[in-house]
Each structure stands twice: as C-alpha cells, then as structure tokens.
C-alpha cells in the first residue's frame, strides 16, 4: 500500500471514528445552554432530553437574529445595572437618614428635661453580596496563570503540557457548572 492509499485509509478511519465516538448531542446542549440568555432556542426536536431531566415547554426552533440576541443581552445588562443603582441609592438614603437622626440626637441640649424619649432609630439595612464561583473555574484561573507563567519562562516541557490539559478539562467543567 503506498502512502497515498495509507493516508486515504487513515482519513476514512478517523472520519468514521470521530462520527462514532464524538458525542455531538451533549456538546450541542452546552452551546444552547451557554447561549440561552442570548437566544431563546429552547429544546430541539433533534435532541432528546437526557433521562431524568424535566422537559421545558417547547419553543420555536428557528434561531433568532443575532442582533436580537445582542439587544436582549444588552437590555438585560441595562436592567441589572439599573437595579444595582437603585439598591445602592436606597442604601445611601437610608444610611444618610440614620446618620442625620443620630447627629440631631447627639446635638440636643443636655439640660432639657428628658421628658420625651428619643425617637427609636430606624432599623439599619445591611446589604451583603455573596458571590460564589464554581471550584472548577478557580482551578481554571489558577491553571491559566500557571500556563502563562511557564510560557513566559519558555518552559515548554511536560509540565506545561499537563497544565494545558488540566486547564482544558477545568475550562470545560467550569463552563458546565457555570451554565444556567
């Protein structure tokens, strides 16, 4: 068998092998999930839901125009920013009001008979934001740093290869976990 025939046979084998061994359906779900906030594709007739996963109500399969997706994303961001500003403004107003009342109470003449009890201080409101990041994403960031550091030092050996692989795995896991 000459080299041309060997290449053709190896190519055929790789094509058949990849079609048989690569799970496209689950990766497609990742793409759809990943972009769900951008485009409301919904479940498709081509992809059966995995067992045990509740089926969502069917939606249109046709992709929305990308401009609509971008618009949807930017309007979501805008809404989020407005909400944050409102919460922040409310916090400031409450905080200022509480401070003013304390000041007024503090500067009141002490000679005055304590006939009237000071008004009860308004309950202070605390806003605490907790952010949780999937473990895999932290791993991904650390491994990314490691890969960059090794590249900077020009250490292109097995350690870099393994770090790159671990990074790829962590990156996939991070995407899976971070997908809504």
């Amino acid at each position: 068998m000459n080299i041309d025939e060997r290449l053709r046979a190896a190519s055929r084998a790789l094509r058949d092998g990849s079609v048989a061994q690569v799970d496209a359906a689950s990766r497609l779900r990742e793409i759809v999930r990943h972009s769900d906030q951008l485009v409301a594709h919904g479940p498709t007739t081509l992809l059966p839901d995995p067992p045990g996963q509740p089926r969502e109500p069917p939606m249109l399969l046709a992709p929305s125009p990308p401009s609509a997706a971008r618009w949807s994303r930017s309007s979501q961001r805008l809404a989020l920013a407005v909400n944050l500003l409102l919460v922040l403004a409310l916090g400031i107003v409450i905080g200022v009001a509480a401070t003013d009342r304390r000041d007024v109470a503090g500067t009141a003449p002490t000679t005055a008979a304590p006939v009237v009890a000071p008004p009860p201080a308004p309950a202070e409101t605390w806003f605490q934001t907790r952010t949780s990041v999937p473990e895999a994403c932290l791993d991904m960031a650390e491994l990314g740093d490691e890969v960059i550091a090794r590249l900077n030092r020009n250490q292109r050996d097995n350690r870099l290869y393994l770090a790159l692989r671990d990074y790829t795995i962590a990156s996939q896991a991070c995407r899976r976990e971070a997908s809504p």
């Binding site: 190896a10 790789l14 094509r15 990849s18 079609v19 990742e30 399969l61 992709p63 990156s171």
Partner: protein, 179 residues
C-alpha cells in the same frame, strides 16, 4: 498523488437548515480533523466547540455563505493557531513519556493511528494541507483557499509532506511492520 476530488464538499451552498442539524452533522467531523492535527481529543473538542459557538452566534450570516462547511473548517484550523498546534505536535515526539487521559483519544487501528502520528510531526502548513486534502477530500484549490496560500504552494507542501510521510512510515515498514 491524491486526486483533487472535493466531492465531500459538493453538498454546499447557502443553506436554510437549522444550526442544530448542521452542528450534529459537522461537529464530529471537525473534531476528527483537529484531532488528526493535534493528537488530543479534549483540545480538539474544545477548539471545535469554540468554532461552532462563533457560528451559532452569527448563524444568520454564516448559513447564508456560499459554503458554511468550509467556513467552519477554515476557522477551526486557523484559530489559536501556532502555539497550540506547534506545542502539541512537539509533544507527540515524546509521547511515551507523557501522562495521558484515557478519553483523550479517538480510537483508531494501530496502523491508522501511526499515520496520523506521523502527520503531526510534519511542519504545520504541510500537516494542515495533508489533513484537509485527505481527511476532507479537499482539492488543491480548496486547501489553498482554506489556508490562504497560493495553489502552487499547497501543491509543493503536499508533495513534500507525502514524501516525508513515506519516509517516516517506510522506516516503520523496514522494522517489520506491515503496510
């Protein structure tokens, strides 16, 4: 010399098919192409996924192109290019010393795997030209378009690549392996 058939590319042209159908048909093949060049299924899947994500986000435009199949392959083999491919190709030379994940390969018969391993030792342009020409059945003109080179350059790269591969795999034959 391989015939410039390009027959697997005949079913092209602007398409109104849904992205999902396009993806399910093309994704495994693109993974196979990248696997042939990189030797790592995980990395191949990751790069292919990124390519298709770009296509998904701009599907209205890309499905209207003359050849969405070719677009996906062109982006896939040219993205992130030099480092990843050069590095992983380098790694194949020391493959025995490398710890590998079990699911990081597409299972192939030994003689086919040996051919792809040899392809990965070629210089990047030769490896890509060989992969597109044989794996995708691209003609010289199609390979040239995909890689942004002149057809004459691709012809020369294919010629040199085949000669090197014959030498590499021929050496294996000399050691008693069947061809």
């Amino acid at each position: 010399m391989g015939q410039a058939t390009g027959d697997r590319d005949e079913q092209t042209g602007p398409t109104s098919e849904p992205f999902e159908a396009f993806y399910l048909r093309e994704y495994p093949q693109v993974v196979g192409l990248l696997y042939g060049l990189l030797g790592s299924r995980l990395v191949a899947e990751e790069l292919a996924q990124e390519t298709f994500l770009v296509a998904y986000r701009d599907w209205d435009r890309i499905s209207g192109l003359d050849n969405p199949r070719a677009w996906v392959r062109k982006v896939a083999v040219n993205q992130r290019g030099s480092f990843l491919r050069a590095y992983l190709r380098q790694q194949t030379r020391d493959r025995d010393a490398t710890v590998r994940y079990e699911d990081d390969s597409i299972k192939l018969a030994d003689d086919h795997a040996e051919v792809w391993q040899a392809v990965r030792t070629l210089p990047p342009l030769q490896a890509k030209a060989i992969a597109l020409h044989y794996y995708e059945d691209y003609s010289v003109a199609q390979v040239a378009a995909a890689l942004g080179k002149a057809p004459g350059t691709i012809k020369a790269q294919l010629h040199h690549g085949r000669r090197k591969l014959a030498r590499l795999l021929g050496a294996e034959t000399d050691r008693g392996r069947p061809t």
